[in-house]
């Protein structure tokens, strides 16, 4: 039994208003039965410093990813994780987090791969909740175990692998949501921050650069639908509702934020997130790369293969 939809008029404009909730709605609905609030942050300690009352924590590194292979947990692991947080298959999940919900959106995307029906984002994320002076607590809840079935992850509908991206070149739009410097290849890594380590700079041919932050207002909430349309659809990128779109960034988290906007706020059905993103593409052997500010064209060889 899903929790009611936040009736805020601003949200009603979106294609799927039931996917977002406002801070004031959440504050009033914290005790709604069947609703679980989940915090997902970049910073692994932030939840411990204080969180929304009743919220549980799910960490992208230590909970969602496998420790050895670069992949997400499997159906059994997912069922165990969610049940341990008091979540059942029919639970309404409201996700929020730091950094403009990057990781919350990423977690929402992973939950969607497992087909969890009712996953919502707190519009404006942790920052807005804190900025409004709303309640935080350090009390960690001990929820009764949820009842979660083992479901197989669907890696086709909303997830793209490197091979899918290669097949997509020249056939559909690609949105690169990194900073312009990462897009052009000018910046590979951050000085003295040995991070994921990428060998080549630039972007996937034909990708258009729309940094993730373009989608949010000053307070971190998503921009109104008309503004999002002007950015991504007519007058902007020109995406249409029937397009098959792939988003990517560096490791797939910032692009989850844009994936969410395209899929649920603008209602484009076929949007896949390429989680390998630049840390895979920029290290892969013999994949085409374009340096500089222009999108560039899908290489002829790829087009020929597809025509053959």
């Amino acid at each position: 039994m899903p929790a009611p939809t936040d009736p805020t008029p601003r949200l009603a404009e979106y294609a799927h208003p039931e996917r977002l909730v406002t801070t004031s709605w959440l504050a009033e609905n914290l005790d709604t039965p069947g609703l679980v609030v989940v915090e997902s942050d970049e910073d692994v300690l932030l939840y411990e410093t204080g969180h929304i009352p009743g919220a549980v924590k799910i960490d992208w590194h230590t909970d969602l990813l496998q420790p050895v292979e670069r992949d997400y947990l499997d159906g059994a692991g997912f069922a165990d994780l969610l049940a341990s947080r008091g979540i059942s298959r029919d639970t309404t999940i409201v996700l929020y987090g730091d950094k403009n919900n990057w990781w919350a959106a990423y977690t929402a995307w992973v939950f969607t791969l497992f087909g969890h029906e009712d996953v919502r984002l707190l519009d404006g994320g942790r920052n807005l909740w804190v900025a409004e002076g709303r309640e935080l607590t350090t009390d960690v809840p001990s929820p009764a175990r949820g009842d979660y079935p083992v479901v197989e992850r669907d890696d086709r509908t909303f997830r793209a692998f490197k091979e899918d991206v290669l097949a997509h070149l020249g056939n559909g739009p690609l949105v690169d949501i990194r900073s312009p410097q990462e897009f052009s290849g000018e910046r590979l890594h951050i000085p003295d921050y040995p991070e994921e380590g990428v060998l080549r700079g630039g972007h996937i041919p034909s990708a258009r650069n729309v940094p993730w932050a373009t989608a949010v207002a000053e307070d971190g909430t998503y921009k109104p639908r008309a503004e999002l349309e002007a950015i991504y659809q007519e007058g902007g990128l020109g995406l249409t509702a029937g397009d098959s779109v792939i988003t990517y960034c560096r490791i797939g988290e910032r692009s989850s934020h844009t994936w969410f906007a395209l899929r649920y706020l603008l209602g484009i059905d076929d949007v896949r997130n390429y989680d390998g993103s630049w840390t895979e593409w920029g290290n892969a052997v013999r994949v085409p790369i374009v340096a500089g500010a222009e999108p560039g064209e899908a290489p002829a060889s790829v087009k020929q293969q597809q025509a053959a």
Partner: protein, 146 residues
Amino acid sequence: MTDAAPLPEPLAEIREEFLALPERERLQLLLEFSRELPGLPPRYESAPGLLEAVEECQSPVRAFAEVDGDVVHFYATAPQEAPTTRGFASILAQGLSGLSPQQVLDVPDDFPLMIGLTRAVSPLRLNGMAGMLTRAKRQVREQLAA
């Protein structure tokens, strides 16, 4: 590489403190470190040259290793909403301050991986501390050369 010199005492103590705890409780200790990060001395508060802005994906951290005669001081600041970064900085502030420049340069680059946080925090995040340590060493070297 020959066998590394033993860790300087303050770093060795920090390491023992972490390793003495079960894995899950180590996060709490890191949180305590984050709360203990001392503020910047006033002369650094207003020195924008020390700020190495880090864009995207990393919390902004300002850090500086200062060589004062035979002794190194490590100062750092990071926002309250980045407690992990503050915890890393605090470990280095407590572990490096008071060492000689050579002792700082001899700290193993993989010290961040030696304190039992790899699983609780993840290696990728620990790179943040490795970066701070690399930077501190570079700053010490630059001052010794000056």
